[in-house]
């Protein structure tokens, strides 16, 4: 599990970790049933208070992303909470809208924005062994 902490960010550290784990579940980078580091391991790797990691794991467990199996550790849930993931998608849509507004403020018209979006989509899409088009 790869988590990146941005120090001095206006986003609290626990929220940074939570949203990265959610995003990686959504993207399939973290697969159902996969084992995640123990609280202490992740605390040491990230240099973050174990209490913070514990709260993050508790939150993600309550949301259904993680499963804590007694004695054997913490895992990505077998059944990911799809409705939760849908709200993530919704959140992403809002962010994208913000970006579009930003573009409009810079005076980019619809055609330019569209072209830019398509170009970036293509670029990003071609990087990992090209999933199915369409």
């Amino acid at each position: 599990m790869f988590i990146r902490i941005e120090k001095g960010s206006s986003v609290p550290i626990s929220r940074q970790i939570v949203s990265q784990v959610r995003a990686q579940c959504l993207a399939g980078t973290l697969e159902p049933g996969e084992k995640v580091p123990s609280v202490r391991e992740l605390a040491v790797t990230l240099g973050v208070n174990p209490n913070t990691i514990l709260r993050v794991y508790e939150k993600l467990t309550a949301e259904g992303y993680l499963q804590r199996r007694h004695g054997s550790g913490t895992f990505i849930a077998d059944q990911l909470p799809m409705s939760q993931l849908a709200s993530q998608t919704h959140h992403f849509e809002e962010e994208l809208q913000q970006v579009i507004r930003h573009g409009q403020m810079l005076g980019l018209d619809q055609g330019t924005l569209q072209a830019m979006f398509n170009r970036l989509l293509k670029q990003t899409h071609n990087l990992p062994e090209g999933e199915s088009e369409e």
Binding site: I5, K7, G8, S9, S10, V11, P12, I13, S14, R40, A43, V44, L46, G47, V48, N49, P50, N51, T52
Partner: protein, 317 residues
């Protein structure tokens, strides 16, 4: 999250000559918590820590006449300083050690001061901290020096550890290493840690709770996530600000270009009230450095940007 209170400071004050260095400082630290005392240079951090170790005597009472008290693991540092020092791991700011001694000699020199010194543990720390026993203390790097200090502070298995700006003078990589040491050797073992720092972004990942000390007074004490939830910046038109000013608990007010930026506490409540009154405003999340600044140098009575009188500037932007 309730356990015994390992450190308690009540209405503590201290003056040097005419200068009031600490005024009515009060806080408590629960067992197993990591508590960071933040403040600018000269805010009174070291004075507070030294008083807890019984190295400085506090004033009998605060300027307003309230009598102060302290307790560390149930001991009173004013009367039982030796007890406190033998039960607490302490790392002084810029700890001086005899440069001509070797690491081994320092460790052997420290041991007899502590009834519970664990020789085996000291040796294990030597290995873990990658310190060579034969190196002369004067040849240690800054980071190695801090690690040696930490070794001395930890080898008697203290329940409480007090560290005075341990990250001072460490480079970014050593600071990260130090934070890891803190997690592995202190937090994971349930110790109570009280440390001071002026580097907020280094403290945030580690501390359960922070207190900001400014000019001798604690201005806020909270866990970092609640602090971030409570303190926000609100941007609104100055005319709206003027009519709704009583809804905001202000830490800092900055006017300019027809807008007013207000850093507020109790943000959730204020934002709800503003929404109810249908004013247009924007909420900005702040990082800990900005929150610290607002508490320490914020001006609730407002600062005015020079060009406030020229509203045409707004169009020019």
């Amino acid at each position: 999250m309730s356990g015994p209170i390992d450190i308690s400071v009540q209405h503590l004050s201290k003056h040097f000559g005419r200068k009031q260095v600490l005024e009515d400082v009060t806080f408590e630290i629960q067992r197993g918590q990591t508590f960071a005392l933040l403040g600018r240079n000269g805010a009174g951090k070291t004075t507070t820590l030294r008083m807890l170790m019984g190295l400085l005597k506090p004033d009998k009472s605060s300027p307003s006449g309230v009598s102060g008290s302290m307790s560390v693991l149930g001991f009173d540092p004013r009367k039982q300083a030796i007890k406190v020092r033998s039960h607490v791991g302490y790392l002084a700011e810029d700890q001086k050690m005899f440069g001509w001694m070797s690491v081994r000699q320092i460790v052997d020199f420290m041991a007899p001061f502590y009834p519970k010194w664990d020789k085996e543990l000291a040796n294990r720390y030597l290995q873990k901290f990658e310190l060579s026993a034969t190196t002369k203390v004067k040849h240690l790097s800054k980071g190695q020096g801090v690690r040696l200090g930490l070794l001395c502070a930890l080898s008697h298995r203290p329940q409480v550890v007090i560290l005075d700006d341990p990250a001072l003078g460490l480079d970014p990589i050593m600071r990260k290493e130090f934070n890891r040491d803190l997690i592995v050797h202190l937090q994971s073992e349930g110790r109570t840690v009280f440390y001071s720092s002026h580097l907020l972004y280094e403290v945030e990942p580690i501390a359960d709770e922070v207190a900001i000390l400014d000019r001798g007074k604690i201005v806020i004490q909270q866990d970092t996530e609640s602090l971030r939830r409570d303190v926000k910046k609100i941007i609104m038109d100055t005319k709206d600000f003027d009519t709704h000013t009583e809804l905001l608990s202000k830490l800092d007010v900055y006017r300019g270009y027809g807008k007013t930026n207000t850093t507020i506490t109790n943000a959730q409540q204020s934002i709800e009230k503003l929404r109810d009154s249908a004013v247009k405003f924007e909420v900005i999340d702040l990082n800990l450095d900005e929150i610290f600044e607002a508490y320490v140098i914020g001006r609730p009575d407002g600062q005015v940007h020079q060009t406030d009188e020229e509203p045409q500037m707004q169009e020019a932007m």
